[in-house]
């Protein structure tokens, strides 16, 4: 008999069907056993009565056993209806229960509404903790964000590309890069697809990629991971950096729309609301932001080259109060705080035509206009103390004609995290990597090498 997806049982009252899935919450009441069975489409309550084989089988079931259950779909009594779920008006009277895979005893209770385990346990049992409805929800939202990003950009004439992650030199900051033993040579893990997406502008004008990026930052904070996913886009023939912020705004608005429409249950699990946005996301220069913060708080960070975390929170408050937007662009970061390819402000060369998108007190995206003039780019590479030889293929793109261009990157885990209001960016990653953990805690499987630093 063919398996029916659980969401389809609502149309099968009076029919006998076979469903398959994982057992959830077994409850015994005298001679009745209730359990839920969950598959990718939903959850169905199963009722096993009597003293026969089915009752015995059902009595032996445990959480997460994989089963097939055959029986009749019937309407629940009015007072037993569960309005929270799509299948809350029906249940199955089981006639046959088959166990396909027996689960061992769980390390912690996966059926509680909130997982009250610490973050190490969460990741020590990652393949198990991901089964929790709230944890699973994070990655349903994540899949939606990625698809929304691609859909919007395809609609705007962007072409998807697949760039490399192995790179020949540590070009964007030597200290934070992972080294690979590459046959008899050295190679490195890309810190971003930046150089390749710029090259691709000279091929397709408008490009995007969802790419892994690697940062060997020696930090164990709630904001850092060694491997993360970037939603990267780049576009040519721009007038200025405002064409880029407009595209970021469009992407973000559509992400909120798509997540709102397709992930309402997941948002509800977190009591999360999508960030409020004004018609146009407000934009202020870094210096202006620092003035605003000074005026509001008398905290004087006006000489700092960046916003401190408390400044980021304050400017978000301001944007919400003044513009009704939970997101705000900060532009014109100092030249020495941005990478070599960032376009300097023609009106003040100490600042750049770059921006961050800040929301709910933290960074969501970063971007800007890039230097597209070949000679100016070479001069800047030298000015930054980098070696022109390390940029051979990249420079070709500019040597043979490149329009004014720029782009942006959204951190997939961060956007997921801040839409749902999750505390640690690592919870926004299926299998997060940091200094101490690659799936398992590295100290449990390896000895540390001798300390070189």
């Amino acid at each position: 008999m063919e398996r029916l997806l659980i969401e389809e049982t609502v149309d099968k009252v009076g029919k006998k069907v076979l469903v398959k899935g994982w057992v959830k919450s077994v409850r015994k009441h005298g001679k009745i056993v209730f359990f839920d069975v969950g598959d990718r489409s939903g959850i169905l309550q199963v009722v096993c009565e009597g003293e026969g084989e089915v009752f015995k089988m059902a009595s032996s079931l445990g959480s997460e056993d994989v089963v097939g259950v055959f029986g009749e779909i019937r309407k629940r009594g009015e007072r037993f209806v569960n309005k929270k779920i799509k299948t809350g008006r029906v249940e199955m009277g089981a006639e046959k229960v088959e166990v396909f895979s027996k689960a061992e005893g769980a390390p912690f209770d996966i059926e509680k509404e909130s997982l009250d385990i610490n973050i190490d346990t969460l990741f020590d049992y990652r393949a198990f903790s991901l089964r929790h409805e709230k944890v699973k929800a994070i990655f349903k939202v994540q899949a939606e964000i990625a698809e929304s990003f691609r859909k919007t950009l395809r609609g705007e004439g962007f072409k998807e590309f697949f760039g490399p992650t192995i790179v020949p030199s540590a070009t964007e900051g030597g200290a934070d890069v992972f080294h690979i033993d590459y046959y008899k040579y050295d190679a490195y893990l890309a810190q971003s697809p930046q150089l390749y997406k710029q090259i691709m502008v000279s091929i397709f004008e408008r490009v995007f990629t969802i790419a892994h990026a690697y940062r060997a930052e020696p930090s164990m904070t709630t904001r850092h991971m060694a491997e993360y996913i970037g939603l990267d886009a780049e576009m040519g023939f721009i007038e200025d950096y405002k064409d880029i912020t407009a595209m970021v705004s469009l992407v973000i608005k559509n992400v909120f729309k798509d997540v709102g429409e397709n992930c309402s249950e997941e948002l509800e699990l977190y009591g999360a609301s999508l960030p409020e946005l004004s018609e146009e996301i407000p934009m202020v220069k870094l210096k202006e932001a620092q003035e605003i913060i000074f005026e509001r708080t008398r905290r004087d960070n006006r000489k700092e080259p960046d916003l401190e975390p408390e400044d980021e929170r304050e400017i978000c408050k301001w944007a919400k109060e003044k513009h009704g937007s939970e997101l705000v662009f900060i532009s014109h970061y100092p030249t020495n705080k941005r990478p070599f390819y960032t376009y300097p402000d023609p009106e003040d060369g100490d600042y750049t035509l770059s921006f961050d998108l800040i929301g709910r007190g933290v960074e969501w995206a970063t971007g800007g206009q890039r230097i597209n003039d070949y000679q100016m780019l070479i001069a800047n590479i030298k000015k930054f103390g980098l070696d022109v030889k390390d940029f051979e293929i990249y420079l070709q793109a500019f040597r043979y004609g490149m329009p004014a261009e720029g782009g942006f990157c959204l951190g997939l885990e961060r956007v997921t995290q801040h839409i749902l209001g999750v505390g640690n960016v690592k919870e926004g990653s299926l299998f997060p990597r940091d200094m101490e953990r690659v799936d398992v805690r590295l100290s449990t499987i390896q000895k540390k090498k001798k300390d070189n630093g």
Copy 2:
């Protein structure tokens, strides 16, 4: 004035517009200069007459200069119509030409219909050679394949996920794995997302990912790369491996349909036709295939554990002649030729419920049913001489209840290559990596380390 995309000029006859793009093929005929300008949407012929500023400017243009051109769109004379392109019935009479970025002299002629450069030059100038229409076409087709794969699987209830590429141990074959200096520990680049996609079956039942995979194979062939892109899918609650081959077939048929509909110009550039398929893709066991080959050729490879390249070509011939299909599934490869997680054939434990999809003489996809029983999996890990401790997180997925499951992987570069009939898989990769090259030839920027082998 706002820029108009070139494809939109066909509706603007009699109107003055501004287009922007790259200069292609400048032709001078006395007091007339013709050139083409190309943007992401198409190519437009521009005519510059007279002796004024425009003519002078146009006379100085070179291939790949980035320009803005303002002028009136007009119909071409009937005998000047170019039916090969969408914009072949119109041209622009230029009134203003502005150069945004001047291209340096090209290393080779990018406008010839076929690039007659060797493969080293192709990649030494990769950012430039990608501008060639035929080279560019490969990556338009590639973007279409990736999107088609995702669209089909989303329609079948698959959820996209983003797994890691840094892994804690060299689990699927120690010799071919890249080592990373991971802080004070060792880590490795994933040879595939295999273990993670299997875990994800226990979360979402049906999952897919487009993921980078890394193989440190010491081979310089036309079939090997150090980094490639896998179109990976995995699904639970299968009856047997035929549910997997059916899903592969659906994906492939839709890829051919989408590429056929959306990339007809690119296929034409290569004189390529999409592979012929029968209603159902034929499937034979490896042993049967070897018998067929023996009967057809008297070449006796019936005791071999795999198909030799000439066998793969022969069985493809057979499939086409006998079934009218250019693709054929070969199933039941020997246990010792497949990874530890492959499900053994219950009828003959020396063989597995695995398959390859072969087409046009080469492998397109690989897949099979996996072992989902926790104890059987542990026994197999040991039997393969691997260490159970290396699979801690992976094994959790099976310990806590896992349905019968299986999956497949299509190599994105290979599928692209064989649809277009390109000779070397590296041409199907934007920035291919092999033993000798990571963008540039490594020997030109680094000394070899001392030879350890």
